[in-house]
Each structure stands twice: as C-alpha cells, then as structure tokens.
Symmetry: D2
Subunit: 396 residues, 4 copies
C-alpha cells in the first residue's frame, strides 16, 4: 500500500457497510455457477472461481486479521500456501498454472472460510475503535476484492465460453449500444495535471500528481462498434501485416487469431458467445474482447491512433466511459516519484511495470465504487479475455 497516510475520510460504519456489500457481491457473481464450474483453469491467466473466492479472503486474513487481531485463530494453516497469489514476501504458494488442479478444499469449505473471515473482520471493528492503519488495510482489502470481482467475471465467461455447449450465465455484465452522438473532443496543447489527488482511496500507481505537456489532439466521444470492426475484418485487416506491430503479427499468426475472442463464424455469419449464450453479433454494440494488438491494428487501418493515457485522462470529463476498459497507447510505467512500499503490499503494482499496456476507464464488470478517471488498469498486450474496447484519437 505504497501511499501516503492520509486523513481517513471514511467512517467505520461506512467502511463496514462497503465491506459487507463487497463480500456479498463476490458471492452473488458466483450464484449462477454449478459447483463444477468453480474448478477449472483453462489457461494460466484464468483462475478458478474457487480460487478468487478464497484468495480475496486470504488477503484479509493475512494482512488484517493476523497482524491486528490478537484473538484471531487462523482458519487453516494450509490456506496461505493454497491461496496466496503472487506475494513472494508472504511465503510459498501454489504456482499459478496449477490452481486448476486443486479440487480441495471443496467450494463448501471455501464458503465457510469466507464466512469465518468476514465475521472475524466485523468482530475486529465492531467496537468502533480502529487505528488509521487498520482502516486503510480494510479499504485496500475491499478494493482488492473488487478487482478480483472483475477478474471473476472475466474468468467465468472464459470457462463457460469454452464449454462446447455454450451455457448461459444470465443478464448481468452485458453491454448496450452507446446512445451518445459520435464526434470528437478537441484538446489544446499545454501543461496538464495528471494523477490522483484527494483523500479518497487510490492505488499507489496513480499517485504522484504531476505535470505533463500535451501537444494538441482530438479524441472520439464514442467507442468503436462491432459494425466497424466487422468491416475491418472484411477488408482483410487480419491479413495485412502493415497494420500490426511485429510482435502482434507474430502472435496472431502463431495463435491463428482472426477475430475478437468468443467470435465464431457459423455458416458464414459471425456469432459470439455472450453471457446469454451463442448469439449473432450485434453490430451496434462496442467491440469487446480485443487485445492491444488488435486495437492498435484497427486504429492503423482507420489512419488514426489510440490515445495516450494522459490524453485520455485530460479529456475524460467530456465523453462517457465505463462499459469497457479502453486500451491506450501508453506502456505501464511509474509516475515521477513513484516508490514501492516495503513488504508484501509493495508488490501490488510496481513489479508489473514492464511489458504491460495501460487501459483506462471501467467496464460493466467493475464494482460500482471502484472507478475514477485517474485509475490505471494494465494488462499484457495479447490479452483478449478482459472486457476491453477501443477509443480512437488523432493528433491535430
């Protein structure tokens, strides 16, 4: 939690309310699943739902209850090994590609673990007296679990969408056609303020408010649609290496990628897997499940480009955002003055600042109180299984 200790703006009752809501929401996301769906890990990036449920719980146990609750009894000593993700400082862990081998503990026990830890957190805070450090870790834990809620949605979609039977999940987490008119926001050159300031929660990677000089540019008010993307495909976009990064071209060639994830050509027509099953592509929806490579190639084909994360942040009040995360032209790098915190919580962000691309905005899978215009999301350039889309920009 590499950030300055700030005036804690949230009262204990408000935080506890958010904590309870958060814990329930995680379980609500899993409600449509069969027990069996909690287990598989089809690719290394996709964790079993069971793992998310336990890991987000372990985080509270490891960083809040064990250090700060004198009376807390660890639920099961093995769980730290089983459900640590990448916190090397917090001890050994099951390697990421092996999470799908763990059928034990069963879902029912993971749920019992969740309840046990939730109750212990509530007990810790119920006397209404907690240090600033405890509240900050609680807030971080909530935000951490909200991030896993979003991954949970991605991973559930991947697991169900790769069943040969394309089972339905339900109506949640689906997008709608944008209702705003197309058009461009123009921004003049100048020094701009970038990064988070304020007393509310933020991650260490968005702190370090600083100045950036931007040359003049315009940025689209709406996202690229399936209709436009189908035109890109139809015009041979996946066959023209001039549009692609060298790495991107190698990647789509090796993996035979010819469309966004979940798209299937069925009897000559494009269909895609949605949470309501396999359906014809809706041309009016924003294109979803594209990698950075695809977003870049599409922009090249249009003779435009992706915005930098700074251009996005400066203009963000002038368009609507939030159905899909938006790939930017910016690599994920530290802001001036960024410092990792000591210990396990310092592993949160900084160590990923290479070979990753920044996305800005939010998605239909983002927790309601988990978005702000300074938020820096990031994924590896080939990632398709995330809820990603494309907004275009141009230099003026």
């Amino acid at each position: 939690m590499a950030r300055e200790l700030k005036q804690q703006s949230l009262t204990i009752p408000i935080l506890l309310g958010r904590f309870k809501t958060c814990r329930m929401q995680t379980e609500k996301i899993c409600a449509p699943l069969q027990v069996e769906d909690y287990v598989p890990q089809p690719i290394a990036e996709v964790s079993p739902p069971k793992w998310h449920l336990a890991h987000s719980t372990w985080f509270f146990e490891q960083f809040l209850l064990i250090p700060f609750s004198g009376s807390y009894a660890v639920y099961d000593e093995d769980f730290a090994f089983l459900f640590n993700s990448y916190y090397n400082n917090a001890g050994d862990r099951v390697l990421r590609p092996n999470r799908g081998l763990m059928s034990r503990p069963p879902v029912s026990e993971v749920m019992a673990y969740r309840k046990y830890v939730t109750d212990a957190v509530l007990a810790l805070l119920e006397n209404g007296d907690a240090s600033k450090e405890i509240l900050e870790i609680l807030e971080l834990g909530i935000n951490h679990e909200q991030q896993h809620q979003e991954l949970l949605v991605y991973d559930i979609k991947y697991i169900l969408g790769n069943q040969p039977t394309f089972p339905k999940y339900g109506d949640d987490f689906t997008t709608k056609a944008e209702t705003k008119e197309a058009g461009w926001v123009e921004v003049t050159e100048g020094i701009k303020q970038i990064g988070f300031s304020g007393d509310e929660f933020s991650y260490d990677n968005e702190l370090g408010r600083h100045r950036v000089f931007l040359e003049p540019y315009s940025i689209s008010k709406i996202l690229v649609t399936n209709q436009e993307y189908m035109e890109f495909i139809a015009s041979g976009g996946y066959k023209d290496f001039n549009l692609w990064h060298s790495d991107g071209w190698d990647y789509i060639s090796k993996n035979e990628i010819k469309a966004p994830l979940y798209w299937h050509k069925v009897k000559g027509e494009w269909q895609n897997y949605t949470f309501n099953g396999l359906q014809a592509i809706n041309p009016d929806l924003p294109v979803q499940h594209v990698s950075f490579y695809e977003a870049f190639a599409f922009a090249e084909w249009k003779g435009m480009r992706l915005p930098t994360e700074f251009e996005w942040e400066v203009a963000a009040d002038q368009f609507s955002w939030g159905q899909l995360w938006e790939w930017t032209a910016s690599a994920y790098l530290p802001y001036p003055g960024f410092k990792k915190a000591p210990g396990a919580l310092g592993e949160y962000n900084g160590k990923f600042m290479v070979n990753q691309q920044v996305l800005r905005g939010a998605s239909v899978a983002t927790a309601k109180d988990h978005s702000r215009k300074t938020y820096r999301n990031f994924f590896a350039p080939p990632s398709q299984w995330i809820f990603s889309g494309i907004r275009l920009a141009q230099s003026l």
Copy 2:
C-alpha cells in the same frame, strides 16, 4: 472387436448380472469423492473422473444402443463429441488434454446419463432375445468399463495425491505384504504356446495362439519390495547413468525424478501418499508406481533383468500375481496373424502397438473377473501413475 465370433458361452441373465454389477462398481469407486474432485485433469494422461463415468456410458450408447435398439433416443447429441475418447471413426471429439476444462455437464447430469443408458441397455435385453453380435458388444462394453474402472482408481489417486493437503480416500485398493516365500521358478528351453484360446472373452491383442521358442530362464516367485527399492535409491541408483536406458536417463534428469511417484522425503525419511493419506513407507510392501525405466534400472542394478511377456505367461501358474501389474521386457507388438477389425472397434488395440511396453498380471484395482494370464496390458515407458511393480528374471 477384432476376434472370431465364438460360441457365446454366457447366457443373457449372467451377462446382465455382470452388467449391473459393473455399472454399480464404477459409481462405488467414485463414492468417496467430492463433486470438485470429478473435474481436474492434472496431466494429459489423467482424465477427470467425470469423463470416465460418461465415456464408459457413451460406449454402450454408441456401439450398442444406437445400432441395435430401434426405439432408443440419444440422451444428448453433444455427448458423443464430449465423451468420445480416441475413436476417430466415431466422429469429432474433445482433445484429450482439454478434458479438464469441461465443467459441464455437471456430475449430476452425468449420473442421470448413466442411469438413462443403463436402463436402455436393460430394456434392450429384457425380453431375453438377443443376437450373438449384441451379446458380444455388451460383453466388450463391460470389459471396456472395467478397464476404465482401473484407470479411474489411478486417476483418483493422482488427483488426490497432488492436492497439497493429501486427502484420504479410504481402505480400498491398497496392497499387502506378500506372504509367499522368495525363490525362483526355473523353466527349461522349448517351444511354448502363447496367447488366448477358449470361448470366454478376450481382447484381439491376446488372440492368435502361436508358438514361441524360449531359452532356459528363471523367474522370481515374489515382487521387489519397498525395502529393496530403498536400497537401490540409497546406493545411488538414480545417479548412475550406466543403469538406465538413454531415454530413461534423459527422462528422469529432465523431470527430476528421484523416487517412485508419491514418494516424498520428509525430514530425511521416505514417506508416500497412499489412499489413507501420507504415511511412512512400509518396507514389506511390493514397490509400486515405478516406470518401466525405473523397473529396468533396478533390474540392471541387481545384475538381473525383467522377464519377457512370454516368459511371464509360461511360468504364471507357478507364482502368485495380482496386486500390481508387472513391467516386462517386451515391447507391445502384434502377435502373428493379428488383424485389426474394421470400424471404430478396430481402434481398440492395434494402433497403440509402437513405443509401448507390455505389463502382465493384474492389480488391486483390476475388476475381479477381468484378469487372466494371457492378458496384455501396455503403457508408455515413463508411466508412473499406474499400479505397477517389478518381478525379476534371469537367463540360465
């Protein structure tokens, strides 16, 4: 089913009795499992229990009910794709390494599918009138499911034995110390009859009764024990390349294999995972979970060798066998006159006759009426997860 049509020696009532027993036994093997345990496929060789349950059912549907039962309605058209194993002639199939991704259909539905097919088979035969072909396929289906029962036991052990928590399964399928005295059976040179003859069931690979000339040899009356194997390890057996095949040495080096599967060195003592959890090695039990490479190296270290499958078969009446399959020195090759049957059932055995090693005998996981001394089992040389052991031989 590449064998001559024979005088069917079994009556319908007897076959139906065996059918019902077989179907129940498969489910009994799974009884100790949690729902989650049915899903993972930790390595390509190990199939999810759910898959075995459905595949052995699909076999009856595909080869018995669809061709011979006029009134049969297929349970679910997708299941042929989902639960075909390697029968290319029977249509497309989920590739073997992807079985662990299939969380759907859930276990409950697989169980419903089992009941549906079991009932349809019983209905087909209940009027007491069935062609010889139907009875032969029924008998093959029972034997096929019995083979999968054994794999099910192997695969359950692998799934549970790779949980970091080493959960218990129960008392079934465990071995005992051999009570027979050590010693050697001596066999004189001569022409010997090899292969199956008789009216009972057998596989195509053991038919073609033929003559083989054997030079004189002796074969041990008992299996190699854990005690002897620990001596092999302690004397540096895994570090002396002179004892190993070149492929075997490469394999154990690359995979850092230093003991049989499930053996763990805990505080300087060898323990192993058993169906009753992690336990100290019992020195009196026959060594189990060794690959062909390990069996060969152990024999080299002893200055002896493994028997050929012919030597084994000729002497089999003179020692007791059946706790563990026994690696032989024989590659898995066709007997003289072997011919694959046309169609999908012809894929049963012949196409595996390269790069495989023969095992003879039976194991504690073998169905009661599924063993005979002519039975030819086979696995790839590196296989450790099977219930395999070592019997030594010597040329005289």
Copy 3:
C-alpha cells in the same frame, strides 16, 4: 524512411566517401574470423556474420539499385529470399531462427555479392547527378549498414564467447575505465524540447520535435562500474525478488541468470569473456552486458532509478557518453505525430513500438558518425548480448 524530405545537406562526393568507408568497415570487423565463424546462429537474436554481410548489401540492391538503376542486373534472384530480414513488404524470406542453417552461399560468394553491389552503387552515382530521393536512400542504406555493423560486433562476441575454447578476437571494441569524476547533474523542472531537428540524417522515430514537461531530477555523471555490480551480486541482488520486475524475476529464475552475460565464476573468482579471451573482471570498467531487468534491479538496490529517455536527452550535454548504450526507464513508444512511411521502409521502426525498452547514447561498437543525443535505440528487456550499461538517476 518515414521522414520529411529535407534539404540534402551532404554532397555526392561526401556521401560516396562515407559509403566506401562504411562498406570497408563492415568487412574489417569480420577480418579476425575463421570462415566457420560466419555460419552459426546460436540463439534466434544472434544472426550469422555471413547474413549481416549479405543483408546489408541486399538493402542497397533492393531499395536503391532495382528501383533507380535502369541497367542493373540482379546478382542472384534467390538472394532476396535469403537475405531479407523482416521486410514483409519486400517478399518472402528465410525465417529468422533458420538463418544458421544456410551454409550456402559460401562466404566467398557473399563477398563477391558485396563487391558487385558496391560497384553498381558507385556506378549509379559516379556521373555526379542523382535525385534527392536517391541520395536519401543511399544515406539510409549507409546508416542501416552501420546499425548492422554494431549488431555484427555483438553477434561475433556471442558466437566466439560461446565456444568452449573462448577464442580471442583482438583489441577492438573494448571499453576503458571512465576518467571523469563521479557526481550528479541536476536539472530543474520545466518544458523541454525533445527529438531531432536539423537537416542531417535521422531516423523517423526521433523526429517530431515536441515538448515534454519534466519534474526536477538529477542524473549521474558516470556509469555503474563492475565493482559496484559485484557488490550488488555479493549482497544477494539476484536472490531478492523485491528488487525485480515480476517478468524479470521469472526470466532470471527460468534461465538461471546470476550475473551479466559472459561472466563465469572460476574457482570462486568472477571472470568474463572479452574480445581478448577469458579474463579476470576489471572492477573499474563500466558494467556491460546487463539486461534491462538487471539494470532496473540494480537501481532499486541502490534506492535510485534509471533515467527516462527524456531526462537523458535533456542532460546529455553535461556528461560524457558513448562506451555503452544506457538502458532508460522509457518504453519504446512513438513520439507525437509519428507516422510510418508507406511500403517496406515504413517497417523500419514503427512496428517494434511495443514490449521494447529505449536505450540512449552509443557504444564502442557504434560507427563513428552514427551517434547523436536524440538517437533512440531499443531492445527487448531481457537482452544481455548487446553493449549495454547503467546510468542512475534520482527524482529531486
């Protein structure tokens, strides 16, 4: 060659002089080699010297002689396939990892090809009358060959340095201890001009002179030495995951990297392969052959950071640089307004602008007239075989 047509500042005689010098220099670099040394490609990144010799020649043939010399007869039609590197627009090509398989054409024929093309270029220009476009391509071709000269030095060192016998190359391309005093250049905040302007040659990636706002910082006047780097190793720098990027930690773990490339621990002492053979580490030399991951981890260990490429460029007149390329904290991204040129020459830079890190400066292997402070070099973060070093920076 994605740049504006500019007033050609160089006269034909001057350009021809540089052309001849450049062509000779390439061959001079190879002079110490045995014929056999021209052939191997030990890793995908390292091309055979023979390939560099031919590819830099093919560039003149493909982009200058074929389009602009009416009388030119192609030397060998197969060579375009053999010696194209990554210009997809210029037709099929031998895939990069297969260059080491090409024993043909032999070195002698490659040398004949070089002479043939050199003579044809001289003939094209000897009447003293050439269009601006011809001169620009000639200048680009010279710069292109100079880049390959540097790669040639890297690749020769890799080929020789991986011979079990550590053969000597000679005294060229070795570094010296820095004579400048240690210390820090301090730079105040403000808007800075970045990028190339002027009439001389530059690459498209450094054009688009633009403004960047920098927060105050200081930058070291000298490079990190072997002495300091040995202290980093001795203090456990390669064992402390807190110092590393997640990708970097995975990379050094998987590849068991414990020191810069060419370092060998011989009887407890660090030695390294140099162009004069295996020698004890000279503690006063700047550390060389470190990856971006290592440079970053070293800076973390020091409690400092690498400079951004902008910080480097702004301060570059206040320290000496040029023995080793210096890793910066900047990912390789387009400057505002960057546009790829159409056609094959547009593939020169833009398509690599993902997953690469910028290096600034120059090295002892850089051609004399091939460096300037706006020059943007780039390599993948794990690269060790390049002539790379470390300069530290700090935020003020």
Copy 4:
C-alpha cells in the same frame, strides 16, 4: 564392446589396411563440401560434418591411444569435451543440440587432428606387435567410423537438401531401379537360428545366437517403389487415420507430413531433392526417406505388414538387399543373454533398447565391408532422414 574375446581372425596388416581405407573414405565423403557446410546442425538428429570428422577421431584417441600408447600426447585437452557424443562414462560433453554452435576448432584444425591421430595409431601398430585387446578396439573403431560415415551421408543430404538453393553434391550414394523380378519368398514354420556366430567382427547387439520359432510367412523379393508410394499418397493414405499408429497419426498431423522427406510438390508434380539437385520423382526407384510410421501405414494400406527382423534374417539369402535399410515390425530389444560390457564401450548399444525400431539390410551409404544379414540397425520411429525403404511381408 560387449562381446566375448574371440580368436582374432584379422592380421595386423589387414586391419591397418582397413584402417587407412576407412580414414580416407570419411574425408572423401566430405570432399564436395564447402567449408561452411561443415558447421550447421539444422535439427538435433543431424550433426555437423565437422563433428563427425572429429568424433570418429576422438574415439581412437580416447579408447585406443590414451589407454594403450604410452608415448601418446593428447592433441588438445578440450577435444574430449567437444567431441564426445554420448559416452557419459567418458566425461562431460557438449550437449547434442549445441554442436552446431561450435565454429571452432575450424575444419582445417579438425583435419590436422585427424592426421595426428591416424599417424599415432599407425605408429602404435607398426612394430607388428599388438595385444588382442588393441586389435579388437581398433576393429571396433573402424566399424564405429564406418557407422559415422553413413550418418555423415545422411546429414550432408539433410544440410544441403534444406538450403533454399538445393545445391548438388554429386553422383555418389544414389539408388537405382531394382532389376530383380517381383515375387514372394515363402518360408515354412519352424525353429530358426538367429544372431551372429563366427570369428569376424560383430556388434554386441547381434550376438547371443539363439532359437526363434516362426509361423509360416512370405516376404517380398523387391522393395516398394516410388510409383506404388505415389499411389498410396494419391489414394489419401496420409488422410486416413485407420492406417496409422496413434503415435504416427499424431506425429504426421503435428508436423504436417504429407510425403517422404525431400519430396516437394512443384506445380502439381512431385519432385524430390537428390544429391543431383531437385528432380522429378523417378517412379521406378525404391521409395526412400520414409519413417517407420509411414512404412507401417503403407503396409496397412496394402493389406499386408512389415516383416519381423527374424523373418527378414531367415529369408535374407533369398532376395537382394542393400540399397536402403528396411524397416521391420520389430522393436529394438536385447537378444536372450545380452549383457552390456562395463565402462564406456558398454554404452554402445544396450542403452538404446527402448522406443526404437529395428531396420535390417544396408544402404548405398553403408561402408562396403560393414554389412551382414545379422546386422541390427535401429532408429526412432519418426526418422525420415535416414536411407530407409519398405519391404512387405504376409502371414501364410
């Protein structure tokens, strides 16, 4: 050299003559090469010609000169490391896939090494007085080098045949149409003697003369021709999984193998690379460069089978053989009573007796005095780059 010491039948002068002939022949095979051709290792199985030249020399140095020549000075201490192949007992060695990285020592020095060792061997024996052990090792060394001569021819063909320019080698080592009439040799059932007996040289793997019982069979007098093989391809042989082993089908699918090695479909016509360059397929030649998988599938398609190695040996006097090695149905296993010799020479054969298939006969690349009907050659089932062909058999 795991064989009984036998009455040495060869006199020193005869052996020395063979030694000199052998050493010259190796160099003659390389005469058409360019220096560059000695270096590449395009696949792990194919060693650089330079390596064969040195390794066959090292064998005499290591096993003959060092133990038995008191005055012998090792040519270069590094060479044991560089040119050991797989003799773990003889110390460390360059790993096989890295042989192509060794540009040093250059060819000229390898040739000097050859001359040095050849002279030393001649000096050792010139006084006409040598122990039986020395003579046996000399004879083994000659046979060892002859084996490498054959591999040298295979590897040269692979290196040249994978140059995009298909260079010519010359007229040696090419096959001719068989002149014998087609037909079948019929063999009656009975006990047959198998294996080598006599005083001449043989390998340990063919010793242990023993009895085998054969059921009646017939074996073709001639090899399968290109004409027949083209019919197999045209009839869809590579698309019908019923014809293939499961491993074979996986292998040709994964590697997209659709014809023998060196076959190229050029404008609808089959051509193949020969030592005289790319040429139209000659339909009358025996088909060459097929794997065991392909030989098996072809036999299946014909409704026949491959002979076992015993069937081949028993009938070998009744047909002509020697243009191509012939795949048999036999896995490479030890004969009864086979024992590895102690030490490095014991690694010669025994450790390969798993996952390999026996070939019988000889090829146009086999040294003149290096063939006999008991000779057991062996390669892995997928091998195509060897000089292999197909002879059919049938059970009667």
